[in-house]
Symmetry: C2
Subunit: 189 residues, 2 copies
């Protein structure tokens, strides 16, 4: 018998992704979003949801582009900061001593020090309620050579992404390897 | 200097969530989705993206309801199986020896053996490309008493959700506690 917890945004895992945008004056901004996920394979798309009150919301509506920079657990403090401060009041990159790099594909900056980056062109905007969902087509994924594995793809154990637990408000690292997808369940059924 | 990996659905972490639906005859089905995430706080909403070719797609369009059951790493084989087999051909619950439980709130079943469950009413459907995104309002979250922490919320270290790495196709467990959100970055800036 399961216990009712109520209508809450309580699901595990949620990502810790840093959304990069430029404001109207070209100032780079970074904000942390946990409300997001991959949403389509073809074209490859990622969704992030932002409140209208955020500075990034206006930037994204204006520029119609964003990046997703995936912080490593070594930068969990900076990622947390990016989720609290507002780019309306401060230059968050400068405050966190991190480096904005202009994407050559879309009109948005990414975080140089974070190992994995998605460059996205806005293709859908959906008003849901408190949050507006922005869907970006992923034009390229870029990664540091130091996190690449044997197949040439980023190795999750080298990227060391952060996992957020909503409501309990905790950050966690990536844990042990459990098995290969589309493989370990094959003997069932 | 980052290396280009190309336009891919490559972001970490992505969830391993099992979407529960009924077909037109009332047969319960479960399919695993990694393309999804929380997408709004008020009303609390979760998004999952499905290909039209899946059996669950038709179920969801017809019933306008779904559940998200969060498997623990102990059920990683069953979760993998739910992502490969089709409910068009088999009763996946029976094959995996797992138990469908009818939600009392929405017209969909959840997985009794999985520790955390979201019961969702479909409120938006968005055609993106290969995938269609379904946004469900979360009417309730239910959890096993055994995974609840001190505050009465599910403890992520007890739920032990699975993390999926796209492209590299690996499953991972939850790792070490890194800190408290909206707290550990406060001394920056």
């Amino acid at each position: 018998m399961k216990k009712s917890i109520g209508p809450r945004t309580l699901a595990f895992p949620t990502p810790v992704w840093v959304v990069g945008t430029y404001d109207v004056n070209g100032k780079p901004n970074a904000m942390t979003a946990a409300w997001g996920g991959i949403c389509c394979s073809k074209p490859p798309c990622v969704a992030v949801s932002l409140r209208k009150a955020t500075y990034s919301y206006g930037n994204l509506v204006h520029r119609r582009a964003f990046t997703v920079s995936v912080p490593s657990e070594a930068h969990v403090r900076e990622a947390d900061y990016f989720g609290m401060a507002s780019g309306r009041e401060v230059n968050k990159f400068a405050a966190a001593r991190l480096t904005p790099v202009a994407s050559t594909l879309v009109d948005a900056p990414f975080v140089a020090e974070f190992p994995l980056v998605l460059e996205c062109k806005l293709i859908h905007t959906l008003e849901i309620g408190l949050h507006t969902q922005f869907i970006g087509e992923i034009l390229d994924v870029k990664a540091d050579a130091s996190v690449l594995g044997d197949q040439g793809f980023p190795d999750i154990e080298k990227v060391r992404p952060i996992i957020f637990g909503p409501e309990i408000r905790t950050y966690h690292g990536i844990g042990k390897y459990l098995g290969q997808a589309f493989a370990i369940g094959k003997d069932i059924g």
